[in-house]
Structure formats: structure tokens, C-alpha cells
Subunit: 881 residues, 2 copies
């Protein structure tokens, strides 16, 4: 056999994770660094992969295993299968990428009726020896032969009951001997064979079990979820057993080189005297804070501090370390990168830069964009008790507490009275905006991650749980019912939008962490990133917030929300119901004054930064009252004998219009620039308002960089028409005001066809902004209003998607179109500015994709700007695939 | 000047159309063939293009014009600008592609106060000379200087009134002299200048006017509509005038070498003695049948027959010829390919093959696929008087006569009573299917070319006028109102779906022409075509009809129509309302028996040909009663005190389900294979039914070639899931029945994403069928239900589209996706069978595209199969771009 399939710990290093697995490579590295590690060796991942194809490989390597065991015997002075001073080993899996708890481990291997006596003699502790033996039988039977663990537990329980004991560790040695006999009986009954007494046979079966555990369902699922390749395989670590449970000069523990909660640079962890690793986890005894170790074993503590600090310096990363003390000697059993909270990640990364351990790029790469979100919202205190009322979709992160209210007007009124409110609705619509604004958080029983409530809440940075189908909301009774409990208006609940949970009562919240360290990370991120981050903002307040969060422009300023304001809606409705161009122009005249002021305010807030204003997009019926409301109004008038009154006629006209505007599929209907083609006067009004605002501000010394964006363009003639319209009106305003100003005209790319004919559009469009919400809908043929409630989550569950394509950009389909769009657009105009303004612009994986196709910027809701800044840096670092 | 800008007729030939224009090249060809053509010359299209950029080119060529005129003088023995025997010329446009009537012509050029006297003397006819003079002034003023022609007509009218004359040609010479003076005055008043007396100045201005006429709006529009390039330019033909109005030995006429109405091989046309060409067209005197020429001028007639026959032989195509007889001498003034009806096209093409004039490919290329449609439907007699009631969209061709009925049930009942009925509805829905089936034709006041009524009617080959917004239908009063006229139930109307016209009363119809000649054309087409033509057919009757029309397979057999049948709908509704899998399986069990029989019948009808069965596609709510109907039912029960009855409970459950199934955008919702993912048992039932039918028939010796098509697939996991489901069920049925059979599993490509990931789908799909109706909707983001009523026709009007993309495939967008889909699919499976089953499969231009991307077949409604067969042949011939 020419290849090397087995490595002693003294033969490897940290760089060999692919071959030796993470655990094996790290143990080898520790040996290299002279750290006290129990002797052991590794069977490589290659053997695993070969084994899974053909188990005969084990015959080939068996001599190697035997000589490696001999080496262990030499190192430890013990002998495998020896009655005198037996060598026991642990057999553990160790994959190249950590899959904690997914695969198998067997401890104390090497025990049988003979060697257990040797162990008893050598340890001077018969109880310990037989306890180790029964643990081994239990573990081996379950892992190797899939014997139900419950059968063994049953025996233990019966014994404790008989002896009136509370804990396993109170069972005396002689009882344990009986238990071992019973365990072996269980094994025989379950498998039809005697429990293997030959340690070599035990070892071979254990190795095989670890190899096979690569493909057990929970491991396969874990890899699928965590996007780990299936062809890596696991290594097997065979390590001589160290015992922390031989007496009070023994112990075991786990520690982090820094505090994983807040990042403080001080050893953090816990330990138990006279215990095995299992016991720390099992929670039978309460572990002791690591600081106490300094009191009970000061030398060991000092050594631990020194060694772990050495490890951290060597790895230049915070370490999570397992250690065991056997008869006053410290052993390190494992080291790995420590998991940490977002706050800790930020502090550790910036501290390590200050300490000269890592550079700024590495610091940024250590803060996951996904984690950043945690820093931006209030959260429920992790330690709080939770009275879960119902669970829905985590639609908008953060937590809010308040009194239940079922109506937007009431939410607004209560909020004005200084109350904190939670708005609960079956679903929300644009009419509820003021209620959403007033509420501390939102709950809906219907709708998905991209339902109206979810989108608006995320835009506002407001916690929301949506599509909470466990909940029934009775708007008439003003009650919320879930899991058999009824909550009335005014009852206090807590909404945890981060997890999608609704809690009864007030849960304690912790504030967002957005300190100097994080600002450093953001600053470094901007220096690293090749893409700017812009924000979607419709109001001056949003624009200011976006700027505070570091946005370098506004990628999407929607004008329809301006149309929705209470004082404007009647004028908008006048406009829609108008029969003639003249009537329309009269209504538009009134709107223009207001629109102009909107733009003045937003442009001022973004002084010096570009602002992309999107012209009117939604179908007109969204601005109209719903049919039942009009019918109710008419019925009322009829009752009062006013069925022929002017008001009644107005309502009838409105009704006719609403019916005329009705569409089977409004998403694919009369909206976007189609409105501007049929009623050019509407777009003309908006464009004039923009340029008049620009001229005013330019004259007053504000640096305005307006970009006019035409929505839903799908053809070249549309783009040409609106480019010419915009240029004409800009020239007119410039002439009228005598002010010179610059501007751009561009389009959303939100239809497959727009991407496919992007070269044609780029003849007239000066910039593209990918509207990936709509582009995802049309590319997949999914209406997000329908799909998420009806089948999309089932699709995610059935594995059709790894991620909901409305959350994470679909690279193969939507992404392919985007790539085509960017390439075709730039084939005509090399310098064409390209960005994204769909919600994906705030999703790290999607940002990585946008960066990979050379976009100029990503635009997202103001609250996600910091996430996007870090994500853009990660993309530049190639840290995200 | 090195290039040749001017060609004498004796210098060109028929191949020089690009340079000399169609008219000039044909005249030159006639001269080449020794035919009697008046002497003349051509200024090339190149000069026109240069002139439009810089008019100075005329200076450069002017010497050439002069020497060409000299040549004419030599040929005719007359002299330009000569008092004795003046040469007069016509100046005519002549573009490379015929644009009849679009550009300018001036006759009798060369006349002034001096030459008119020469003409009078030479012709011995003073009246003739001054009539020619006044005609010239009128034409020249209008064409060259845009003087309003009405001013001249006004003078003529006044004169006739004064002299109490009825016709222009009754005005005596002396009055014409006065009129000439008045005409010159009008010219001076309108232009501020004297009428040009110098014939050279006249000629130069006339040439310029012809060049400029290339860009007059009507010409530009004509080119746009007919897809003629703008950079061709027009040639100018300058021809010595020949006069057919010098006396009774003169005359003029138009003839076709064969009958353009029915194709009979005999000279066809009409003529006038002592007349100019204008007079034939003007309709002042009724022209005489060409046969009469044989009696009045037997020699001339014989010569004409000989010459025209010679022309036809030379062009190998039916010719449309203008001729003039001047003092007993025959001149041919123009020849061009003659326009003809579809019936004539077929007869002429097949006759010419029999005569050995052309080969079969040429014959097929002479029958336009668009014309074929005329042959397949009854039409209103062209000569009938039409009492137009309203005009809408020509939704489905052909004509039908019957009594107005406003309800589908009634339509069915009346039809059973032997009455012919016309179903008139505001719009139709699947519930109206039986009414559509019973009716002779359909009229709807709402909906577009792809509305339900239009699609179903085209599928059934039934005439339909849709979106006829002039019409108001009052379903309660059972009246149809249009243009102030009210029609009641039972009133007879005629529907002309070919033109989109509805007529009052019974118009005479002519039957479809589908004779032996046409069968020859179809046979030759199949031999030429590289693509097969399949049909979309849902019933055995459709399948049989498709076969009769020459379909080589069924490209789309929809199963939902089977679900709609009156006896099945209640079972389908049971299925939908079911709460549990068991209830669903029970309902499915009942449906399966019926489905199996459906498939047995269709497979039998298509013995030997492939049949693609599409699994259930539409959203479930389409099978449910509408909400108002359920509410009415409930109210009724309530009234009867049966509000708690079993029926009421059932209705309430149905209502709840209908509301649950409601979708904001059903087009993008829970339909297609999404149903099959969430309720696999539905698809399993259908697949089993298919294979059980296959096994039965295979055992009985029928050659069944089933292909199972999964609708609305957008992702690889979907395709994988259904491929595996189908394979598993096929194996089960084969095992159960002991019958071996072949089958294919494939998918519709009807979502942009499906095209973009076609390589992934092709791993599991064995064929692709492009569903271009839905693909067009999602690619453009147009809901066809909404777009056609709301903005699409405005878009066509405004020139955003040349054609409605639901009628003619959009090559740049939808076509680009199709190309991607075919290429990606075949990159995985070279032999992947690809077809189209959208309505575009019956549209000639779209078929040409499908052929260009190497599809295997196109599938269309049975009635369009002959159209598609010819179109596929044309595509192969490259006759369509």
C-alpha cells in the first residue's frame, strides 16, 4: 500500500483538515505546538470514502492500525487488551467541516471481563472501572449495533429505584457488575450474538460505525442545510483515554479563550472536579465557573491560561477548548474556533486588530453579515422565560412589547396617547400604513415573508411576525385566539420578529448594540467593498436614517406612498375617476405642488448623494376604496332617501371606475409605465415636480443628483418614449427657471423581457436598477401574495428550494437573467450604472451574487444598510461563495 | 461622374429591381423581350437616397437626364418643348418593393401654352389637348407644390353646373381653355409664383417631388406596416406619353393573365375605348369585359393574348398588366405579379405545376399561409350588402348566422331544437363551454384576442367577434344594444369573425374551399417542411378532426376540460373540498374510471401517432362555483328555514374552500405541477389512468405512443419528482397488467425560469413543449385577461408593438428565452424532442421562428393545422424571414 492512510498526531498539522478532519488536524497541531494532548492517531477521510464504496479497504489498512496502537502503547506505558494496565481508547469521528453532534463517538473501548479487572486494579477504583465498562457496552451497542439505548436506561432506572438512589454515580460497584451482566444480556437478545470481548474486534467495528455515520440521515440533512458537500467523508480519531473521574485530583471542563457572549478578553468557561466530559454536558451536577479553578487547582489554572492563550495566538482566533485533568496532569482534548454572539464577534475582531493579531480584512471577515442584524434590533433577553402564544414567520427582526390593537386608526390614536401598541390584523393593506407606523410591532395571521405587512415592517425596521396561522383574529369581537387562549384588545403581548414568535405578556428586552467597535467594522467594510450600499427610502425621515446608517445614495424612492397620504388620496381618486384629460390635468395640478415639496425634502436630506425617484408604479385600483365600502355607502344614502344626491352619483361613478379597474391578475396588469403610456400627463406631472424641485434646490446651493426611474419597462419603444419625455421636460424646466442641472434617466429591470432586451433599453436608459421582487415573481411565475401562503413553504420543506427565492436571490434563474441584463446593457454602454433595489439588496448571499456580476451598488431598506455594507465587504473578500 | 445613375429601358432587366425599382425593372424586361413598351428611362434608387441627403446630386446627373430625353425624342420622333409635335412624358415613382398608391405620379409633363397648341395640331383634337393640359396643371400643382386639389375640382364643378353637364369629358374645348387659365391663377394665388412654363423646369421639379415622396407620412407608415426597410429609396420612371383617348381606334385597360378570383387560366380584365388609364379607375364610364375586345379590335385582342401569355411564361407567374392602344397600336405600360384570392392562388400554383411552368416548391411558396385560413372557413359573400351592427376584434375567423341567445343553456336547448344560434355574452367562462359548442358563432362585448371566448372559439374553429365594446348586453332584459339599435333574443344576426364585424340579419355565406388542388399544396408542403405539424386536441372528436387535417400527433391534450364535464364537476368539487387524503382518494377513484376512458378514446383516435397528455393545470378555484352563487344558494335555504340543513352545511364548506382558494394573481398562483406537489394523489390518479388506458389498448393491438407532460415546471426538483412518480407508476401498471409499453415524460416550458434552467430540466425531461401563451405572459409581465382590454391595443396603436405578442411570437424576448431553452436542453440531451403548443403554433410568422430554432414540431388547434403545414413549408423554403 503506497498511500498514507493513518497519521499519528505527531505527523499532522492544522492545515490538513481535509485529510485528517478538523478535530484530528487541530489535535496534531497542538502536538506540534508542544501542548499536552493524549497520544492518538487518525485514519484519514480518504479511507472513509473508500470504505463507503468498498469495505475491504479496512483489511488493507489493518496492519497500520495495529502498529499505530502499538505506538500508543509505547507512549502511554499501557497495553491494549491487557489484564494488568489496559490501554483504553476513544473512537471519534472528525469531518473536515465541523458537524457537531451529527456523527458517532465511542469511549472506553478496549474493556472486557478481563481488562476491566486490570482497570480496577490500575485505578484503584473498582466502581470507576465497572462504571466505565457499562458505559462502554451501552455506547458500543447503540452506535455499532443500533440497540435501543432506552433498554439500558431502563435497567439503570430499575436499579436506582430498588436502591432508592437519585443519581447514576451513586450506584455501588457490585451493583454495576450486575448491571454489566444485564447489559450483555440485552445485547445478546437484541443482536443474537455475544457482546464482542476481543478489543481488536471492538475497534474494527467502532471504526466501521464511524465511517458509516457519515451517511446517517441526520448527518446528510445537516450537510444539506449547511451546504456542506457530501463527498468529504469523516476521519476517525483513535485517542488513548484520559480520565477526569479518578478522584479529586481529576476533573474536566470546557473553556473559551474570550467571552463568547460579549467578547471580553478573559478565559471563560466551566469545569467539574472528578468527572467525565459527559457529565458537564449532562447537567447532573452544576459545573463551576472557570475562575474557581484558580482557587482549587492554581497551578493547573495557570497552565491552562498559558496554554489556551498560546493556542489563540497560534490560531489567531478565539478558541473553544475541551480539557481533562487526570491525577493532577492537564490534557487538552480538543480545540476549535469558538462560536460567539454578534456583539462578541465585533468586539473580538476589533480587539484582535488592536492587539496586532489580525488585520482589518480578517476582522471584517470574522463578522458574518447575517449576525450584523442582531446588533440592529432590540431582542428578547435570552435568559427570559417565554410564554409562547403562537409561532409564525420571522417577517421582520427585532422585538416589541405593547397592547393588542386590531385597527390601524386605533393604533394611531393609542400611540398618540403615549401607549405602546401591537397591531394585529389578518393581513394589512396600504390603508393600514399609519397603523403600522404607530405600532411597536405587527402580527398578521395571513401572508408571507413578502406580504404587505412584512415588506413595510422591514422597511420601517419594525418587528413583525406574519402568516401566523395558529392565530385567529376576530375583527368584530376584537380578539386574538391561539392555542385555545383568547386575548382581548389592550392585552399585553411581546412580538419577537427575529424568531417569529408571539409571547403572552411583557418579555424583558435588551437594547441594540451599535457601538464604536461596530462602527470600526463598518468603516473597514466600506474600505474593502467594491460596491456601494444605497438605501430604499420614500420619505425625508427614511432618507436621513439611511444616511446615518451609511447609505451613499437612494436607490429607490417610491412615489406611490406620497400618493397614499390622507390629504392626497381624495385628489388621486379625483384623478382616476376623471373622464377627460382636462379633469385629469386639474387634479394633477393640485398633486404637483405636493409632489414637488416631497422631492425638495428628500433631495435636501440627501445633499450630494444620488437619489433615484421611481415614477408611479402600482395599479390605479390600489388608490381606490374597496367595492364593498362603496356599496355600503350607497346603501346608506339610499336608506336616507338620498339615492339621487350628488354624493350618490359620485359614489356610483367611483363604483363604475373601481369595477372597470378590476383585474384578474393585477400583478401583470395595468401598472408601471403602462400607466404613463396611456396617461402621459401623470408621468409628466411627476417629472416636472422632480425637476422643479431640483432647480429650486440647485439655485439654493444644494448638490442635487436626481435620477428618474421608469418602472416596469419591457420594450425599447417604452424606454424611448419616456427618455424623450424626461429630456423634453428637463429642458423646459431649465429654460423656465434659468437653472442648469444634471440628471439621469433609467429603468427598473423587473420583467424577464427587460433583461433579455437590455441592449435595446440601454440605448435610452442611463442606468438599470434590478427590481428583483417582481423579477422573481415573473421569472418563477409566482405571485408572492399567493405563493407563500399556498405552496412556497411546502416547496421549501420538500427541498424544491433551499431558500425561499423571495428571501435569497435565485441564482440559476433570476440571477441568469440579471447576468444577461448586465452584459447586454454594458455591451451598448460600458459605463452603464447597475444596481439592485429589490429586497434581496439586503440579503448577504444575494449581495454576494450582485457583487459577482459587477453591480455598482446594492440598495436596501435603511435598517439593513449596515448588514449590506458588511456583506459587500465579505463579497469583496471572497468570503462568501 | 463614374457611376451609372440613369438607365434606358433597353439597358435594364427584371433582376435589377433594387436599383431600378419594380416598375422600371419590369418595363426594361419587357423591352428586352421585344414587347411594345413606350420609350423611357429610369433614374435609379441610388440617386433618390443621395438626393434625400443632398439635393445637389440633381446638378450632377442633369446632363444625363437631358441626353436620355434626347434619346426619347429620337425613338418617338417627337421633340420635348416643341411647338410642332411635342414630346410629353409621365414621371412615376417605382420602389424596389411595390407600394401601390403610396407615392407620386405626374402625367402629360411637357405642356405649356405653346406645346399645347402643337399637341392639338398633332392629335387633331383640340379638346383632348386642353383636357391634357388642365389635367397636367392640376396634378403638377398638387404633387409638386401641394396646392389643394379641391380648388381645381371646384372650378370644374362650377363649369359643369353652368353648362348643365354631368361629366368632365363633356366639357368643350373652349371651356377647357378658360379652365386652364383659371387653374394657372389658382396656382399663382397658392404659391405666389407663375406656373412653370419651361418643360425642363417642370421635369426637374417633378423628379424632385417623386424623390421626396419616399418620405411622405403615408409612405413611411405603409413601409412600417409592411415591414419594408426605409433605406431602399424609389426610382423615377420617365416614359413618353401614350394616349388611349385620341379617338375610337384608341383605348386603355387592365388585365390579368389568369382569373385572380378563382384562378381559371384565361385572360381576365376590362378596358375602355377612347379613354385614359385614369378613366378606368375613376368609374365614370363602366369598363367593358376584356372578352369584348376580341369583337371590337380582334387583332389587338389576339396580340394582347399573345403578349401577356408571353409575359406570364417569362415571369412564370400570373401577371397584372396595364395596356394602352394609341391609334391602333398596342403598348404595354406596366406588368407586375397579380394579387389573387386564396382559392386562385391554390389553383394557379397547382395548374402551373401541371403546365410545367413551376416546380412544387415554387407552387407552395405562392400560397401564403395567411391566405390558407380563408380556405378553411365559410365567409360572407363578398358581393353581399352588409348591414353592420357593430365592429369588434376578429377573434376567430369564419362567418356564422343564427338567432341571438344570451345564455349557454338556452343556446344548447335551441340547438337541440334544430335552430342555429349565436351566443352573445359580455364574456364567457368555462361554465359556458356547452353553449359555445352549441352556437354557430360567438359575440362578446368584453375580452381580447386571447379571452376565454376567443381561445375556445378558435380551438373549435367557430367564428367569434370578441371585445365588441360598441355592444351593450343586458342579460336580464336579454337584449343586445349597439349604435342605438336594440336586438332581442331570437333576432337573426350574422357574425363575421374574419373581419370582426357583426351584421344585422342573415348575410349570404359562401362555403369553404378545400379541394383537390389544396390537398396537393398540403402534400407538397409536408414534403418540403422540416417540422411536423401536430394539433392541440382534448377530445376524441378533436383528435379525429386533427388527423383529418393532417396532424401527425397531438401536442397538447388538456385534461382539465375532462374535469369540467357536467357529470364530473361535482366529483371534482368533492375532491377539492375534501379535508383528508382519504376523502380525496375516494373522489379520485371515481374520476379515474372516467379519465381512463377519455384516454382510451383519444389514444384510439390517434392510433400510431404520439399523444402528449398534460396533467391537471388550472388553479382549483376554476372548478368551483362562484362565491355569489353559493351565497345566493345559502340565502335561499335560509329563507326556507333550512339554514342548518345538510345542504346548507355543504354549501358553507364549499364557500369556505372557495374563499381559501381565492388568489390575488391566480395566473401566478397555486396551479400546474404545484398542485401535483402538494396533492401528489391527483397526478398519480391521472398518470395511472393514462397507463392503464395504454396497457388496455396495447393489449388490443392499438399502437399507442403516450407522452406525459408536466405543466408549469420551473425547477429541477419538480421535474425529478414527477419523472420518478411517472416511471414508478408506469412500472406498476406494466407489472399489474403484464403489458409492456413505451412512453415519454416531459414538461411544458412556460415560465422564464424553465427556459433558463432547461439544462437542469433535461436531466429528467424527455421532451419540451413550449407553452408560449403563458411564457409570453410571464416574460412581458402581461396578464392576457387584463392587458388586452386595458392597454395592449393602445400599445399596438402607439407602435410599441407591430403585432400583439399573443398573436405573433415576440422574437426578441420570448423567442430569446425559447432559444436559450432549446440550446440548454439539447446541451444535455442532443435528441431532446422540442415543440410548441401555445397558440403561436398556428401563426405563420411564429412557426417560421420555431423552425429557425430547430423545433421538431409545432402544435396548433386542429383548424389551423393546414395553415401550419403550409407555414412550415414556407419556413423551410426560407420564404419567410
Amino acid at each position: 500500500m503506497s498511500e498514507k492512510y493513518i497519521y499519528g498526531f505527531n505527523e499532522g498539522n492544522a492545515g490538513m483538515k481535509a485529510l485528517l478532519g478538523g478535530k484530528g488536524a487541530n489535535l496534531a497541531e497542538m502536538v506540534r505546538s508542544g501542548l499536552p494532548v493524549p497520544p492518538g492517531f487518525v485514519i484519514t477521510t480518504e479511507v472513509c470514502l473508500k470504505y463507503l464504496k468498498d469495505p475491504k479497504i479496512l483489511d488493507t489498512i489493518w496492519d497500520g492500525v495495529k502498529s499505530s496502537v502499538s505506538a500508543l502503547e509505547k507512549d502511554t506505558g499501557k497495553k491494549f487488551n491487557d489484564k494488568g494496565n489496559p490501554l483504553l481508547v476513544s473512537v471519534r469521528s472528525g469531518a473536515p467541516i465541523s458537524m457537531p453532534g451529527m456523527m458517532e463517538t465511542i469511549l472506553n473501548l478496549g474493556l472486557n471481563d478481563d481488562t476491566v479487572e486490570g482497570l480496577a486494579a490500575a485505578s484503584g477504583n473498582r466502581r470507576f472501572a465497572f462504571d466505565s465498562y457499562r458505559r462502554f457496552i451501552q455506547m458500543f451497542s447503540s452506535v455499532v449495533d443500533e440497540v435501543d439505548s432506552g433498554k439500558f436506561e431502563h435497567v439503570l432506572e430499575a436499579c436506582k429505584k430498588k436502591l432508592k438512589l437519585s443519581f447514576d454515580n451513586e450506584i455501588p460497584a457490585e451493583e454495576l457488575e450486575k448491571i454489566v451482566a444485564e447489559f450483555k444480556k440485552i445485547y445478546k437478545e437484541s443482536t443474537g450474538a455475544d457482546f464482542p470481548t476481543n478489543p481488536w474486534e471492538q475497534l474494527r467495528k467502532a471504526i466501521e460505525a464511524v465511517f458509516k455515520s457519515w451517511n446517517i440521515p441526520r448527518a446528510v440533512t445537516y450537510r444539506k442545510i449547511n451546504k456542506i458537500a457530501d463527498d468529504l467523508g469523516t476521519a476517525v480519531n483513535i485517542v488513548s483515554m484520559i480520565f477526569g473521574n479518578l478522584g479529586d485530583d481529576c476533573g474536566t471542563g470546557v473553556c473559551f479563550t474570550r467571552n463568547p457572549s460579549d467578547g471580553t478578553n478573559k478565559l471563560y468557561g466551566e469545569f467539574l472536579i472528578n468527572a467525565q466530559g459527559e457529565d458537564v454536558v449532562a447537567g447532573i451536577r452544576t459545573p463551576i465557573h472557570i475562575d474557581e479553578l484558580g482557587k482549587v487547582m492554581p497551578d493547573i489554572y495557570k497552565e491552562l491560561c498559558k496554554l489556551t492563550s498560546q493556542l489563540e495566538k497560534s490560531y489567531k482566533e478565539m478558541q473553544d477548548i475541551e480539557f481533562t485533568i487526570e491525577r493532577g496532569k492537564l490534557y487538552l482534548l480538543q480545540t476549535r474556533t469558538g462560536k460567539r454572539t454578534a456583539a462578541a464577534a465585533v468586539k473580538i475582531a476589533t480587539d484582535m486588530v488592536s492587539e496586532g493579531l489580525i488585520d482589518e480584512k480578517t476582522a471584517v471577515s470574522r463578522v458574518a453579515p447575517e449576525q450584523v442584524e442582531q446588533l440592529l434590533h432590540r431582542q428578547i433577553d435570552k435568559n427570559a422565560k417565554k410564554d409562547v402564544l403562537a409561532v409564525g414567520l420571522p417577517a421582520s427582526p427585532g422585538a416589541g412589547v405593547g397592547m393588542l390593537v386590531f385597527d390601524a386608526d386605533e393604533a394611531e390614536a393609542w400611540e398618540k396617547d403615549g401607549k405602546k401598541v401591537i397591531l394585529a390584523r389578518p393581513e394589512t393593506c396600504p390603508d393600514d400604513i399609519h397603523g403600522l407606523f404607530a405600532a411597536d410591532a405587527v402580527v398578521t395571521s395571513r401572508g408571507g415573508m413578502t406580504s404587505h405587512a412584512a415588506v413595510v415592517a422591514r422597511g420601517m425596521g419594525k418587528p413583525a411576525v406574519c402568516g401566523c396561522e395558529e392565530i385567529t383574529i376576530d375583527l368584530d369581537a376584537e380578539t386574538l385566539t391561539a392555542r385555545g387562549r383568547i386575548f382581548k384588545k389592550g392585552d399585553v403581548v411581546t412580538v419577537d420578529g427575529t424568531t417569529g414568535t408571539v409571547l403572552a405578556g411583557e418579555a424583558p428586552l435588551v437594547e441594540a448594540t451599535f457601538g464604536d467597535d461596530f462602527q470600526k467594522i463598518l468603516k473597514w467594510s466600506d474600505e474593502i467593498a467594491r460596491q456601494q450600499v444605497w438605501a430604499n427610502a420614500d420619505t425625508p425621515e427614511d432618507a436621513r436614517r439611511a444616511r446615518e446608517f451609511g447609505a451613499k445614495g437612494i436607490g429607490l424612492c417610491r412615489t406611490e406612498h406620497m400618493f397614499m397620504a390622507t390629504d392626497r388620496l381624495p385628489v388621486v381618486q379625483e384623478l382616476i375617476v376623471a373622464d377627460t384629460l382636462e379633469e385629469r390635468l386639474a387634479a394633477l395640478g393640485k398633486l404637483k405642488v405636493m409632489q414637488k415639496q416631497d422631492f425638495v425634502d428628500i433631495f435636501k436630506a440627501m445633499d450630494g448623494f444620488p437619489v433615484i425617484v421611481r415614477l408611479l408604479d402600482p395599479p390605479l385600483h390600489e388608490f381606490m376604496p374597496k367595492e364593498p365600502i362603496i356599496l355600503d355607502g350607497l346603501a346608506e344614502l339610499e336608506k336616507k332617501g338620498q339615492g339621487k344626491s350628488e354624493e350618490a352619483l359620485r359614489l356610483q361613478k367611483t363604483l363604475a371606475k373601481v369595477r372597470q379597474l378590476h383585474e384578474a391578475n393585477p400583478m401583470l396588469g395595468f401598472r408601471g409605465c403602462r400607466l404613463g403610456m396611456v396617461y402621459p400627463e401623470i408621468y409628466e406631472m411627476q417629472i416636472e415636480a422632480i425637476f422643479e424641485a431640483v432647480a429650486d434646490l440647485t439655485a439654493r446651493g444644494v448638490a442635487v443628483r436626481p435620477e428618474v426611474m421608469i418602472p416596469l419597462v419591457g420594450t425599447k419603444p417604452e424606454m424611448k418614449f419616456f427618455r424623450e419625455m424626461t429630456d423634453r421636460l428637463a429642458a423646459e424646466v431649465a429654460k423656465k427657471t434659468g437653472v442648469k442641472f444634471d440628471y439621469l434617466v433609467g429603468t427598473m429591470i423587473e420583467l424577464p423581457r427587460a433583461a433579455l432586451v437590455a441592449d435595446q433599453l440601454a440605448e435610452y436608459a442611463q442606468f438599470f436598477s434590478f427590481g428583483t421582487n417582481d423579477l422573481t415573481q415573473t421569472t418563477f411565475g409566482y405571485s408572492r401574495d399567493d405563493a407563500e401562503g399556498k405552496f412556497l413553504f411546502q416547496y421549501v420543506e420538500k427541498g424544491v428550494f433551499k431558500e425561499n427565492p423571495f428571501s435569497e436571490l435565485d441564482r440559476d434563474g433570476v440571477g441568469a437573467l440579471m447576468k444577461i441584463g448586465v452584459e447586454k446593457g454594458r455591451s451598448v454602454d460600458k459605463k452603464l450604472s447597475v444596481g439592485i433595489c429589490g429586497e434581496h439588496g439586503g440579503n448577504p448571499a444575494s449581495i454576494a451574487f450582485c457583487c459577482s456580476i459587477d453591480m455598482n451598488y446594492v440598495s436596501c431598506s435603511p435598517f439593513r444598510v449596515p448588514v449590506a455594507r458588511v456583506a459587500a465587504a465579505h463579497a469583496a473578500l471572497g468570503a462568501l461563495k
